[in-house]
């Protein structure tokens, strides 16, 4: 064990396992502070520390063992109820956890547990233990006390008398029973030993039996071992530890398989052989499932990152003299491991900010009429293929005038711009490099590297950060991040004869102008091309010009009869990207560009298309910057933001509008929409009562919205007069199952704050709102689906759905 290279697997495994245990310990200790008498928590903490101690002793890390042992002794007093948890005990135990962590790190690096002297810590832990000593329990036979002396005398653990080192636990077989089952003692012997205990013998069963010579000390030790191993071994047999590198490799291979599958699918369209077509179909299905399966292995609940926060907050709050409690919602929201790693630091930074700058001291809070204890609320949820994370505090909020003053003082913006600046713009100042509003620099935060780093890190993984605050009542930071980085849905467009992929996340909508619309739809504002999208001017960017294709070709496309505009979202602004052609959306595997091309901000990576050729993935942010859209739109935003602040502060929702069966307007939240599709009527098939279509290799059940809504027309129409050949379908996906909602006509996509609300007047509707000055009903998607298929949301149904 002299060097890290020579470290054997046992030690490595021990480190991995112990690190996990320690993280759990942190969480448990914080929970314990709230619930100091919980037997369950104490038991779990004790077990974790005991495991660490036991293994370290076995591996010969004596220093580590001593520290862990001191902690264990203290815990055992707590568990016996001799001591009651106090803040100083918690701090002591947390310090112990930290010390163990430090030593583990040292072991990982150097192979030994370091030279740091932990004697003061051990002494502190011992002193804590000696608080409120309880006479009748201190008869020298209580395991922790006696074993502690043993350690102090630098003796190894096996001098401790068998039977004293352990206690029977609720969740384990009693020691006696194990001994009887192992054939080491007879039932009568056990019964009489138990009897003796009942009559006041303070010793443990094992001890009594050893003392009577009924059993060998070794046998008791073995039984104790069995007792410890029992519950854990059954758990671990269901889990194996896999190296992340191995998963990454697997993920890459699956990515390749997906590409090969796509190639075959493309080829299969030219083939007639039905066996080949069927096989292709099956290959496709299996590949999809395999892909999902592998993706899942990389998914981890956000709790893995959040779990550390209660500890961080506690330490921080103590250091700042504040009181903060943490609440979490959506702890089990899953994210790709890579993303989880990437958001760890930004989130920690935001949490620190919230506690250090956001939440006020108890006295200030009371003066402001708030509870002295601040509240930090973490929330995570899925929405539209993305994960949203919100971090809100109920602290003082952000003083915008201070922010502006600071920005002016730092020379980041001129005075007059600050005066004109809208609320939203001012919040964006916080994300500028070198900005910190903290009155004084503390050791916690406010060291200049701040929100800009958070923003850069989040944007690096394709996410977005937004900040809202209200003076006196708190701040909320919203983060939107993709679920996974490896495979993303993207729109494939053509430009200059090459294909480019635009990540679906940035895509808002597609606009196609034909004929006159194409020639006249594009206007110019002092030379800059714009398009009127629902009354607002949308800046336009020609992809071929940005990519410096032949200028003659670029001229040509401006004269064409058809103009394709992809409306994209970059940061907080929208712009239209004019491309030559729009192909389909595809799931693409993102591959990094080589070091040679890292400097090109307009691409995020490359992917391999179905035909085996490489296509570049456009970086929408980079493109917007390259085209100079962002600064330009920022200016325009200023004028838009002249609307009253209160109106903007309200939650805005993006809605998909469609025509209801009775010619009214209906809407569903865009987050419920996976895709919009058009199917020809002839492709609709029936399975029993259910109408279905074949869709992307699966069977998509169709739900006719018109059939399920109570008809309210004065003159019910018979056959729809617009019995067109095509039906418009909104695809809604939940828990991997999809359903197609057949609607009359898709109208528009709008953003609205849904302020004027009236309750629902019929089934299948959540309520009605005024959207764009017209009454619009919001469809109850869940309700409608339940009417058609009551089992749609059942988890069992999900399983059979996947299996079939």
């Amino acid at each position: 064990m002299d060097s890290a290279d020579g470290m054997d697997d046992i030690v490595k495994e021990f480190i991995v396992e112990s690190t996990e245990n320690l993280d759990q310990l942190d969480r448990d200790l914080i929970s314990l502070e709230k619930n100091p008498t919980s037997k369950e928590l104490l038991g779990s903490i004790f077990r974790a520390v005991h495991t660490v101690k036991g293994t370290t002793g076995f591996l010969g890390f004596s220093k580590l063992e001593q520290v862990a042992h001191a902690g264990e002794s203290l815990l055992s007093r707590l568990r016996e109820g001799v001591l009651v948890l106090s803040p100083s005990i918690t701090s002591g135990l947390l310090a112990m956890v930290d010390a163990v962590r430090t030593m583990l790190a040292a072991i990982e690096k150097t192979g030994s547990d370091g030279d740091t002297d932990y004697a003061p810590l051990i002494q502190f832990l011992t002193q804590l233990q000696a608080q409120e000593p309880d006479g009748k329990m201190r008869d020298g036979l209580v395991a922790p006390a006696s074993s502690f002396h043993a350690v102090e005398q630098e003796q190894s653990q096996d001098t401790i008398a068998p039977g004293t080192a352990e206690e029977d636990r609720d969740d384990q077989l009693p020691l006696g029973q194990i001994l009887v089952e192992g054939g080491h003692v007879k039932e009568e012997q056990l019964a009489s030993a138990l009897d003796q205990q009942m009559q006041g013998d303070p010793r443990r069963v094992g001890e009594i039996l050893v003392a009577r010579g009924a059993v060998h000390p070794e046998e008791v030790l073995e039984a104790l071992q069995a007792q410890n191993d029992g519950p854990t071994s059954s758990l671990s047999s269901n889990n194996i530890r896999v190296d992340v590198g191995q998963l990454d490799k697997l993920m890459n291979l699956v990515g390749e398989l997906v590409l090969a599958r796509n190639q075959i699918l493309q080829f299969s369209t030219t083939q007639q052989d039905s066996t080949f077509l069927n096989t292709t179909q099956r290959l496709s299905l299996i590949t999809t499932e395999l892909q999902e399966g592998v993706m899942k292995t990389r998914m981890q609940p956000i709790e893995n990152v959040w779990g550390k926060f209660p500890r961080v907050v506690r330490d921080l709050a103590l250091a700042c003299g504040k009181r903060v409690h943490v609440e979490m919602e959506g702890k089990d929201t899953e994210l790709d491991k890579t993303i989880l790693e990437a958001i760890k630091d930004p989130l920690t930074h935001l949490i620190r900010n919230a506690v250090d700058h956001g939440i006020e001291s108890p006295s200030q809070r009371e003066a402001a009429g708030k509870s002295p204890e601040g509240r930090l609320f973490l929330r995570a949820y899925h929405e539209g293929g993305q994960v949203n994370i919100e971090i809100s505090d109920d602290g003082a909020g952000i003083d915008l005038s201070a922010v502006k003053a600071k920005a002016v003082e730092r020379g980041l913006i001129p005075q007059e711009q600050a005066a004109r600046m809208s609320e939203r713009e001012a919040y964006q100042l916080l994300f500028l490099p070198g900005f910190s509003t903290a009155q004084k620099v503390t050791n916690v935060s406010g060291r200049g590297v701040g929100m800009d780093v958070v923003k850069t890190n989040i944007e690096k993984i394709g996410g977005m950060v937004d900040l809202q605050s209200a003076m006196g009542s708190g701040t909320t930071v919203k983060i939107k991040i993709p679920l996974t980085l490896a495979i993303i849905p993207a729109l494939i467009v053509m430009c200059g004869g090459e294909r480019y992929a635009i990540p679906q996340v940035s895509l808002l909508e597609l606009v196609r102008l034909e004929g006159n619309g194409a020639r006249q739809g594009i206007e110019s504002v002092h030379g800059a091309p714009v398009y009127r999208l629902r009354g607002n001017l949308l800046s336009l960017v020609y992809l071929n010009r940005e990519l410096h294709f032949d200028s003659a070709a670029a001229q040509d496309s401006a004269q064409q009869d058809v103009v394709n505009i992809a409306v994209l979202q970059a940061d907080d602004c929208q712009f239209g990207l004019i491309v030559d052609e729009v192909n389909d959306t595809e799931e693409i595997v993102v591959k990094p560009l080589g070091e040679l091309l890292k400097g090109l901000s307009v691409y995020t990576g490359a992917t391999i298309m179905g035909d085996g050729r490489v296509a570049l993935i456009l970086d929408v942010m980079g493109l917007a910057q390259h085209a100079g859209v962002i600064s330009e739109v920022r200016q325009r935003k200023l004028s838009e933001d002249a609307t009253p602040a209160a109106e903007r502060a309200r939650e805005r929702k993006t809605l998909l509008l469609f025509q209801s069966p009775d010619d009214g307007r209906m809407a569903i939240s865009l987050s419920d929409v996976t895709r919009l599709e058009t199917f020809s009527r002839s492709s609709i098939e029936r399975t029993g009562e259910q109408q279905v279509v074949q869709y992307r290799g699966t069977i998509l059940p169709l739900v006719h919205v018109s059939g399920l809504l109570e008809e309210r027309r004065l003159q019910p129409r018979g056959v729809s007069p617009t019995a067109e050949d095509k039906v418009q379908v909104i695809v809604h996906t939940r828990n991997l199952r999809s359903v197609g909602l057949v609607v009359e006509r898709i109208l528009d996509i709008v953003e609205d704050d849904l302020s004027t609300r009236r309750p629902a007047s019929r089934a299948g509707v959540l309520g009605s709102f005024v959207v764009q000055g017209k009454v619009t009903e919001i469809l109850d998607v869940d309700g409608i689906i339940r009417v058609q298929d009551p089992t749609f949301f059942d988890p069992e149904q999900l399983l059979t759905g996947v299996a079939s």
Binding site: G255, E595, L596, L597, A606, I608, G612, R613, V614, L616
Partner: protein, 144 residues
Amino acid sequence: MSDRQQFATFFLGDNYFGVEVERVQEILRSQEMTPVPLSSPVVRGLINLRGQIVTAIDLRRRLGLPARAEGQPLMNVVVRSSGGGVSLLVDDIGDVVETCAESFEPPPETLALNQRAMIVGVHKLDDRLMHVLDCAKVADLESE
């Protein structure tokens, strides 16, 4: 370092080049390439090498040699580099050559400075001179 070294060799026009054989991942015939707009003119495009995306560098342009004739076939010498795979586009492939340290000489002073960075030196072979390329420098466009 041992005296003897092996080089994978190739031609650019009449010039004879070699890279250390360990650096070479594989050699391919002409591949379909996806151009990368806005990149350095030295970058000819991206190649799909069994799922790995490889950046192809026009070695003639990189070394300031005259462009090859239109339609002239290309060969890819895929070399491992720190920032992912890089393919050097060359005219033709030669043999693997074993050299000894005595035949090596540093590049002549008269060589242009930007090329001296990439050409480590020459090996005096029996029938010709072999330029020894530093792949890392070739792939490092920043240094230009």
